[in-house]
């Protein structure tokens, strides 16, 4: 085997601008998808838990659909299938100097819609895990369901689901490579492009793997720090931590 060490080090330590743009796009897509997932996940979880069949069944169906089909299929379906049927077309969005091209939008949307189903299940589990006594105490004080959710249940559920959400984001980082199939130049597609000119496949993919290891490890470190803060908070009833997680003061 011939391993081109100089080339490997060069790519690793002084990557092309294109590769760095790919890295940036990987992060953008992952964060975007995660945000959409979070935004969809909460109402979907509430709908899924709702007593109304008009909310519960659609939510259930959505979750079933997203979890029952491959993400890769969803990505192609959303970008090409929906457009082919004339349902949804993605056009570039330009805001000042910044352009979000159609396929990037579709990629983020597909990752987000998929993530939404997993988030819904996580939110649901988190809400269910909050002691029923908390809801009953709030009810007995005359609070209405929306208030109970906002001030009592969600802040506590959030604490419970913070780590599962963190793990999902780790998966999201890796799944973001799938949007390469619709031509989004994230790290994988950039690597493939460079490879098609240089054919240093082994070296290039090693570098790509290392960048992903770095991303997922950094995120893992963030998670461990949050976990550690939460453990301390749980023991000491740490106001700052709980405030941080709660995100909002009453």
């Amino acid at each position: 085997m011939h391993f081109d060490w100089p080339y490997f080090w060069h790519q690793l330590l002084e990557p092309d601008g294109a590769f760095l743009q790919g890295l940036w796009l990987t992060i953008l897509i992952s964060v975007g998808g995660q945000v959409i997932g979070l935004v969809i996940g909460l109402p979907m979880a509430l709908a899924r838990r709702s007593a109304s069949v008009f909310l519960m069944w659609p939510a259930r169906f959505y979750i079933f659909l997203m979890r029952g089909t491959p993400l890769l299929v969803q990505i192609v379906f959303i970008y090409t299938g929906l457009a082919a049927a004339g349902i949804l077309r993605f056009h570039d969005i330009t805001a000042g100097p910044f352009t979000l091209s159609g396929n990037v939008q579709a990629g983020i949307l597909a990752l987000g819609l998929n993530e939404g189903a997993y988030m819904a299940e996580i939110f649901r589990a988190g809400i269910d895990a909050v002691d029923r006594g908390q809801t009953e105490a709030a009810k007995s004080l005359g609070m209405v369901p929306g208030q109970i959710l906002r001030f009592v249940v969600l802040p506590q559920a959030l604490r419970i689901i913070l780590l599962p959400i963190g793990n999902q984001f780790n998966i999201m980082l890796k799944n973001s490579t799938l949007v390469s199939v619709i031509g989004v130049s994230e790290m994988l597609l950039v690597t493939e492009t460079i490879n098609s000119a240089t054919f240093r496949t082994f070296e290039l993919y090693s570098v790509l793997a290392l960048y992903f290891l770095a991303l997922t490890s950094i995120w893992g470190g963030v998670m461990r720090y949050v976990e550690w803060r939460m453990d301390r908070g749980a023991v000491r009833g740490d106001a700052a931590v709980i405030g941080m997680l709660q995100g909002e003061h009453i």
Binding site: D131, G133, Q134, E136, A137, A138, K139, S140, L141, G142, M143, V144, P145, Q147, F151, V152, P155, Q156, R159, A234, R236, G237, D238, A239, I242, Q246, I250
Partner: protein, 254 residues
């Protein structure tokens, strides 16, 4: 009848096929302290929970302050009321739970001011002022900034009482407020409740503390398998219980 605060008429409650409350009727007058006793599973908790509609009832009616709880009367047929209306009715009924149920995400002070601010629309200043007075009353003024997890059981239960009082309810319901406490903390909670009784608060208390019951109760209601089998002043029940169940309960717990 002007001073009838809580009234239950032939209330029936089922869990699945099991009749848990079986034609329960009673009244509580303003300022009265009523203690509920009965063996485990006799329906005491369920009865309290029906009074602020944490449980639905299948027949009969419950009123607080003259208002029907949980239902609207549509030409004689009771239909369940909307969440928003039920929530309004619940403001009049304070509830203290066996397991405290303080909001784990909020400090002691925030626990107390949450409902006054959000439900009654009070300003933070007004709500905090009352909360601090109530905390002083239950002897926990210095714990305002603490979180529930850092308090002892007895302290938590006293905060829970203050939280319920902050809504200035017409009646307070207590479901075995001391039975989850270590013995050394029972006294501090009972002392707070004794103070409330002396101040003329209307209260319904489920408890196994017979000494306390005898001392504070204006009336004792004895339940057995979903029915009220005896209802009278403590002196009579302790000295001349009419029902075998009453005798058994007072003998065992005393």
């Amino acid at each position: 009848m002007a001073d009838v605060l809580v009234q239950a008429e032939r209330v029936e409650k089922f869990f699945g096929p099991n009749k848990i409350l079986d034609g329960v009727s009673f009244t509580v007058t303003r300022g009265e302290t009523v203690v509920l006793i009965g063996s485990s599973g006799s329906g005491k908790t369920t009865l309290l929970r029906c009074i602020n509609h944490l449980e639905k009832i299948e027949a009969g009616r419950i009123t607080v302050n003259g208002f029907l709880i949980g239902y609207r009367d549509r030409r004689g047929v009771l239909i369940e009321d909307r969440e928003r209306n039920i929530a309004r009715q619940r403001r009049d009924v304070g509830m203290v739970f066996q397991r405290f149920n303080l909001f784990a995400n909020l400090s002691v002070l925030d626990n107390i001011i949450l409902a006054p601010m959000r439900v009654r629309g009070e300003s933070r200043e007004v709500a905090t002022g009352r909360a601090m007075r109530l905390l002083a009353r239950v002897g926990l003024a210095e714990k305002a900034r603490s979180f529930p997890a850092s308090l002892s059981g007895g302290q938590q239960q006293r905060v829970a009482i203050a939280r319920a009082l902050a809504m200035e309810p017409a009646v307070m319901l207590f479901d075995e407020p001391t039975s989850a406490l270590d013995p050394e903390m029972v006294g501090e909670v009972l002392a707070v409740m004794r103070g409330l009784a002396q101040d003329g608060m209307t209260m319904m208390i489920v408890t196994h503390e017979m000494g306390f019951a005898r001392q504070v109760a204006d009336r004792i209601i004895v339940m057995d398998r979903g029915r009220i089998v005896e209802d009278g002043p403590p002196e009579r029940l302790f000295n001349a219980p009419a029902h075998a169940k009453t005798r058994a309960l007072l003998a065992a717990r005393h």
